[in-house]
Amino acid sequence: MNSLKIIFDWDTWQEIFGSIAKNKTRTVITVIGVLWGIFIYISLSGSAKGLDNGFERQFENIAMNSMFIWAARTSIPYSGFKVGRSPQLKIQNTTTLKQQIPEIQFIAPRNAKGVFGSIPAQVVRKNKSKSYNIYGDFPVYTKIATKKIYDNGRFINDEDIKYERKVCVIGERTQLELFEPDEDPVGQYVRIDDVYFKVIGVHKFIQGGGFETDGDIFIPFETYRKLYNTGDNVDWFTIAAYDYADAVAVEKKIKQTLKRIHRVSPDDERAFGAFNIGEVFAKVMGFAKGMTFLSLVVGLATIFAGVIGIGNILMISVKERTKELGVRRALGATPGEVRIQIVLESVFLTTIAGIFGIILGSFLLAVINLLTIDKTDFPYTNPTVPIPLVLGALLIMVTLGTLIGLIPAQRAVSIKPIDALREE
């Protein structure tokens, strides 16, 4: 008989089912070995993917390739200036940077009150009053860090800048603390440091990176400038580079340009500070990639161990069944038929175990997903294992199952039927 015919012959499978069903303990032990392997593989790589997704979500409200740049103090005397001078970033730097560094996609100059040690502003509404951080912003800022605004509100737009409108976007907490629960704050007025501002929107706070809070108030940059008399000064720049650009290299270029403008020594590493999200993101994603790789290796190793276990148990089983196999051969089973029966038993057990392992692993992932779905501070989202990886694992198992089955199969036919029959 040729082997393909044997595989698709119902009788072959009946023989295999018979032998598997009648040796229950062996079958169960064998199946557990591989089931455990694929279960570990699925749950590990799913979790790694979940972690990966989770990290990505942590950064989802800010452009991956973005950074903050601020002025610190000089550490090298240069061009007649002593050390310890604080260069002042200017609004004019914005255009210079944009012109000189083509990798910059968006650049948003920002001013703030209440962060970096300055005093927050007193905000009053009717009889309620509290202090909040105030940011002076351009609309372009939302291109770098997304701001989710609740329905019927909006963020600062170009008109607001142009006409220096006294409008503000308040935070969720601000709304909670200054307004009545059933009150719509949009269109209402609040007093920020003795000037009345019209509320144009409420932003939804999203956890992750940065120093912003759920109480922040955003007002147009130009209005901020007038209100606090900041002139051309800028506290810091938030900059997004194009996706193709290397964030670290762009940061370097920006600093060099700023040093030139502000007459700081090109070797002065401390004059300007920077927080590079692109760099951090790359590191975190590198970690996640490492986890994925690790889980892949561990999972595959466990599967491998499980399949070795199958081989082992089949080996014992062949020893136990020496006599049976001898009888079969005395009754006319060819070595090929015996061999294919053992190999098919191995493959069948591996596959069944694998499928159950995949189902159990997916079940575990689904449970973890349900448990973590509301936890926004826990970096774990949507744990999945890509289908090709699952199919790959199955393929590996079937292949290994075949290979490992060949060893006991070979052993089974290497015993002469006469010796097999003598075995007691």
Partner: protein, 230 residues
């Protein structure tokens, strides 16, 4: 039916070799019931194994139904065994997780018959040995005599030319021994050629011809008056 000329067989035991068969010549006609007798070490089992193509002779010719059995690889031997031979063993050698019916049907599976006709034929042979009502029982649920009858049914199911029985009553008491021998006689009377290896003279006397082996040669080869099992 069986023709053997100058059969030699030795086993290697470390450095020395043990000559087990030293030139056996024997001819068995169709329909004979032959007992092969001898004490242990006389070579009777080795002879049966060679006849059963479970073992290969060093020298000599073996013709079965006018087919010269030579250059046997395992696959060819398996085919010949399936086609020409039926085995009955001392320890029954039934597959313990298969029912009586499935055991009987097994050689038919290796003949490539489909399931339906396998079961039909197997049931016929179980009926022949009087165990049709036990077809769904596992070997562990059968008595020794019943097991051997199932084994005989299995040996017959593939319609072999020759039935080879190796101490078929060795594990049975005298009453069941007689039952089994009666069955063997009945099958022989229907025309089947049967070889029975035994060391019991009572059993040998139930056959039609006794071949006695000693130290690897045929000591005596005589026709006897068959003792019929009543």
């Amino acid at each position: 039916m069986i023709e053997i000329k100058n059969l030699y067989k030795s086993y290697k035991m470390g450095n020395s070799s043990l000559q087990v068969l030293k030139g056996i010549n024997i001819e068995i006609e169709e329909g004979e019931l032959v007992a092969i007798m001898g004490s242990s070490g006389s070579g009777k089992s080795t002879l049966l194994n060679i006849l059963g193509m479970l073992d290969v002779a060093d020298e000599g010719d073996y013709k079965l139904d006018n087919v010269l059995i030579e250059k046997l690889d395992e696959t060819l031997a398996a085919k010949y065994r399936n086609k020409f031979l039926g085995f009955v063993f001392q320890s029954f050698n039934l597959i313990n997780y298969k029912s009586a019916l499935e055991n009987v049907a097994l050689p038919l599976y290796y003949q490539g018959l489909n399931r339906k006709s396998r079961q039909k034929t197997a049931l016929e042979y179980l009926e022949k040995v009087g165990l049709a009502n036990w077809s769904s029982h596992l070997p562990s649920e059968l008595s020794g005599g019943q097991k051997q009858r199932v084994a005989i049914a299995r040996a017959l199911a593939s319609q072999p030319k020759v039935l080879l029985a190796d101490e078929p009553t060795g594990a049975l008491d005298s009453v069941t021994s007689n039952e089994v021998m009666g069955l063997i006689q009945q099958i022989n009377n229907e025309g089947k050629t049967i070889l029975v290896v035994t060391h019991e003279i009572d059993i040998a006397n139930m056959c039609k011809r006794i071949v006695t082996l000693r130290d690897g040669v045929i000591l005596e080869d005589k026709k006897v008056k068959q003792v019929l099992v009543s």
